[in-house]
Symmetry: D2
Subunit: 387 residues, 4 copies
């Protein structure tokens, strides 16, 4: 089987989720290429070494520039904090590497555009890892929509709520600093929602938004602090420079009216990525905490028999899921990464395209920045006005 050499930059939460997919893809799916886990890269040499040993990455590097320059690397998997994405992606593109980039794409629309242009100029395959498009229930929702089962779409209602920083003692990790993250949940979570809305409903024309910050200062992070993980708290404190919550209303280009709500202050919501879509012929609803299920109501059913159906999206005939276990034997969060890697490898093999990619990243950043501008100025903002 043809192999392809992968380098991963970043070795925390996403490094683990990606490694698992690179390592196991060929066991479950008939992928056209077999990834070789060539290099793992991280600034912390000891931690990166441990990570590489656990996951089977052959080499370790501490400087991402060296990785990008290596001749024996075909694919660069960018799993770093957001502010490093652009520089790495541009360099990778210039070096002719295929790009597998974690979301959110960048800390600004300008960066995202730069990334997209570099990748297109270099003619490399680029993929932006909004993994939730490949939750089987969401892929199946897309299929229902494409078959016309929802008709004309009137509404998108999206929310992505978490609660992991509600404790004022949770430290000032990079996610809470504008320079590293670009924004708070509006980018981290909202980018997922906007990606799904663009995938399922279409492009967004105009937005209006408000944001809030509930806690202004937090202890500086000590060892072990990261995504979802408080680690040890430092003694000094620093200023939170991103929002804690962002609520946005949007008008889609084809006329649907939508909402997007993100927060890290929604007690009890752990990974509550939900949406409802209402159309002239049917409605669907989804909740990532029950990701094997899709709620679907058909307005074409007999009126008295209509109701939201709880579909277990675990049939062999549902998207992707036949490769896993029998019906009703549910899959977990990590499996979407396999589906993403599968389709990315197909594109790499066939010199094709895969979606979402850096163009999608650029478009979604335009929406997200429009909302930040709206929150700041108190005006509705046209997405196309973000340059």
């Amino acid at each position: 089987m043809k192999t392809v050499n992968v380098a991963i930059i970043g070795h925390k939460f996403m490094g683990k989720a990606h490694s698992n997919a690179w390592a196991n893809i060929n066991k479950f799916f008939d992928a056209p290429l077999k990834p070789v886990l060539k290099v793992a890269c991280g600034r912390d040499e000891k931690g990166t070494r441990e990570f590489a040993d656990t996951w089977g990455w052959q080499d370790v590097e501490t400087d991402w520039r060296k990785v990008v320059e290596r001749k024996d690397v075909d694919i660069i998997d960018i799993s770093t904090p957001t502010d490093l994405h652009a520089e790495i992606a541009v360099a990778a593109a210039q070096a002719g590497k295929q790009i597998f980039c974690e979301k959110p794409v960048a800390v600004s629309y300008a960066q995202a555009r730069q990334m997209y242009e570099a990748a297109e100029k270099a003619g490399v395959v680029h993929y932006l890892n909004h993994n939730y498009r490949r939750v089987p229930a969401i892929s199946y929702a897309k299929k229902l929509i494409e078959e016309g089962k929802l008709g004309r779409i009137y509404h998108w209602r999206g929310a992505y709520l978490q609660d992991w920083i509600m404790d004022p003692g949770f430290p000032l990790t990079w996610h809470l600093q504008k320079k590293h993250a670009g924004a708070g949940p509006h980018f981290d979570l909202g980018s997922h929602s906007v990606d799904l809305a663009r995938y399922l409903v279409g492009d967004i024309a105009e937005v209006t938004a408000m944001t809030s910050r509930f806690i202004e200062k937090r202890p500086l992070p000590g060892a072990g602090a990261g995504t979802f993980s408080a680690g040890a708290a430092g003694k000094e404190s620093g200023e939170v420079t991103v929002e804690d919550a962002a609520f946005m209303v949007a008008r889609f280009e084809k006329g649907a009216l939508g909402s997007f709500e993100t927060s890290r202050f929604a007690g009890g919501r752990k990974n509550f990525n939900t949406f409802e879509i209402y159309g002239s012929k049917g409605s669907i609803a989804f909740n990532l905490e029950r990701l094997n299920e899709l709620q679907y109501l058909s307005l074409e059913d007999d009126g008295d028999q209509q109701g939201f159906r709880t579909i277990m999206v675990t049939n062999a005939t549902h998207p992707y899921v036949g490769a896993w276990w029998p019906p009703g034997h549910i899959i977990g969060y990590e499996h979407e990464f396999h589906h993403a890697v599968l389709d990315f490898l197909k594109a790499v093999d066939g010199k094709g395209k895969v979606e979402p990619n850096l163009l999608d990243g650029m478009r979604e950043m335009q929406v997200l920045e429009a909302a930040l501008q709206s929150a700041e100025t108190g005006r509705a903002v046209k997405v196309s006005d973000v340059k």
Copy 2:
């Protein structure tokens, strides 16, 4: 037992729901007064007569002015289309009648203020029938909040979705005409949501909003058309002059960030009035289609044991509900009207106040109009700027 004479103006859906409460209140509750169903008033004499016979109203009138002038009437129950509320309420106040007014309070903030001022000047008891405050689960949510169980409140997420006009053949009833209804679901449904948000979270400082109209023309209504009821469709058509959906983001005075979404184009949602409230110590969620249940999560529970509790709010010790049936024997939509009548009669008897009242109506109209201005101008609007 002391009696009190009631006149009702309007005899459709709300006329029925109110009559049921006036007629049966003393069977279930220990109210201080016994309502006498004195006069029913409607422009359609035959229909009003039938209504009066069914529900036991002693007399029938076709001119509401005569009703307001009758000496043998103590209470005016205003159950007409919205545009008539103000004139009737002002006249009723001037005649010294106690006022039980259906929501939404009026077609504009200006009218609502006029109503409130007239009632206060006359010193009459006035009540605005946002009946959902007295759903036991919501009254109980209020109790939890007042006891501090939610702590500092970060978010309100409210939606009120229906689907009864999705068929383009549904006729142009008064609800779809700005002159009669003031606005579409934003007033009809949104007034409920704003009332509940003000009740549970507090006043709103600023809003931003967008609205949509999906169907521009509809057949003129024939016989039998009314709320939720298409009736016969006429041959001619007329223009829809209200929105079909309105999505609003709001900042509360105490800092919470909130959303309010109303639509009549949400297929499968019949009376889907839902809200979630997130605070520093706990969260709650409610859905009117399951009105006997309250979802409550306490962040003060042991971390591993936390989860949204589905509380059946049907204990004898829960608000109002002990007067009905044993635990688990659920109550229906209509019962809230009894609870409203009970508290209104207590106010009438004791010359006290009852909430919500015309002041609340005025405040909520200010919020709702601010949103309409925002939708029109593309700017966030301060509620206090609505005059």
Copy 3:
């Protein structure tokens, strides 16, 4: 409108629920007769007087025999403890009265048969109040089954669970004494389940069962003790003579395999009357605590689109429910009594039959007694062997 005179015997929980239906039936439904609330009867004169005043019963009696003999009474509503049903029903039949009898029908199959034979001999209309048949969702389930939507039925899974006597301090009310109640939850709750199973699936051929008693002695009841209500506890204690839980497996005559589980020791279950029915073409599920909903899955839907539909059984076109409120405006526990009274009055007016009736009561007692025999002997028992 033609009137019909009603006498009610018993004035506790059921007396209230029945009175509400007799008093209000004509307001919501186009019934052929108007009930006149003629006499209320109870051994406790003061309590009965208060009850009669509240609900509008014209006269009060303390001796049920006098009620049965009154010429101005057409209908006898039997709402007493179970052990009195038979004697009253037989006397009522012999006096030519129409019979509206609360469930469970009697304390034994022998009594039930006696009641049925007396009623048939007298040619009176008789109705046994398994009110749940007329929950709209259940009536609608029946319709689906009759239309063949479930195909051949393989399984009934019924459970009726409560928790109101879990506290060992709950007193020894009549429900816990074999001489008054015949049995524990197996009769009280199980009679409902068996009635619904017979209605929806068909007759039962053979059963096997086990029962348990978790608390052997309880304080004698003081004032105020009743169904769901502990009242004051007495100082002395007495022996519980019924089971606390009964689990039964059954084979239906047409081949389905079923289960019936009743308990008063299921913490958190207030009125948890649930069932699932599985057939070759579809499945349904129901929970009385959400009585406005029916879960329905059609195996004839496209395989990938199959899921249990949560149908809000609140459309005007669903059984009974159009008489109440618009779609999504849910009804409560009490409304089933109106539906029962409606159909009973139709039978009385038309000299027809109504179901369930004393024949159904007889059949269901045969099933329930078979289970008690099975629990005692450790053998499966054929229902037809109960004489």
Copy 4:
């Protein structure tokens, strides 16, 4: 790191699930041993070779006896059809191999006892793969019970329902033949339920049961037929010799009353393994199709605040789950196998014990056979009477 050599016998559904766990255990968990995937064994050489290549098994064998005799094998993983378990396990024990055996343990109590005795005599570690004990939600339920959170247990209500053979054209795979499977869903699914009931509630004293077979003849299986998979149907047909459904009532040794219901004819239920446990201090409920959630109600909460809590069992502090993803990022069906392998490796390393094991298998077979005897004889059967 110390390694340990594994041989797997069987390469279908369970072969895949087990291989995944052996291959990846050290990536997620700090296990004391590293499994080496030494030999895969199956009668179909070509299929086994493909399986070995996919999953990284070094060698391939077609005769399980050779595998058992290999000196370079430490662990025998038995993933064959049920009727082969006993012979293989006994041989493996005699050869001093550690045993990891798929459930159900055997086709009879006699076999299970033989297996247990051989393993004990040989002093090898033995594990019976009732993987559901290690669903984090179930492990956590066990913790709650051990902490006394449920108090005295009154009820177990277990059901395990599927629908994969409802089509009469589904072929006569080995699962439908008594000689290969011992029984139908009563063994396949019921063994899981009985294992969980024994784990969470305790041993069972006596049972009564009924079984049904709805389809008597089926086509002989063609290529590709297997668990959950119809494959090609042959032209000839054969007789189904197991039950299609089995419903059982049980009395536990400590007095709880329980039910166990299994069926392969429950339309819409894919892997619906559910249970409820009711105790004097609390209740829990679980559904495998939502395996990341546990329903828990505490009767020690304030009465008005009681409700079933939907706990997302995905915290780092919940059992096992911290090794996977952050809170709310759910795990799938396969992850339990990792947890099982982890604990099995600990036992192998420490020469300790792991549960459930062949003793549990023996005990649960005693219960299951008692039920079959009961169904046949129409009598309740004491578990200890099964020899």
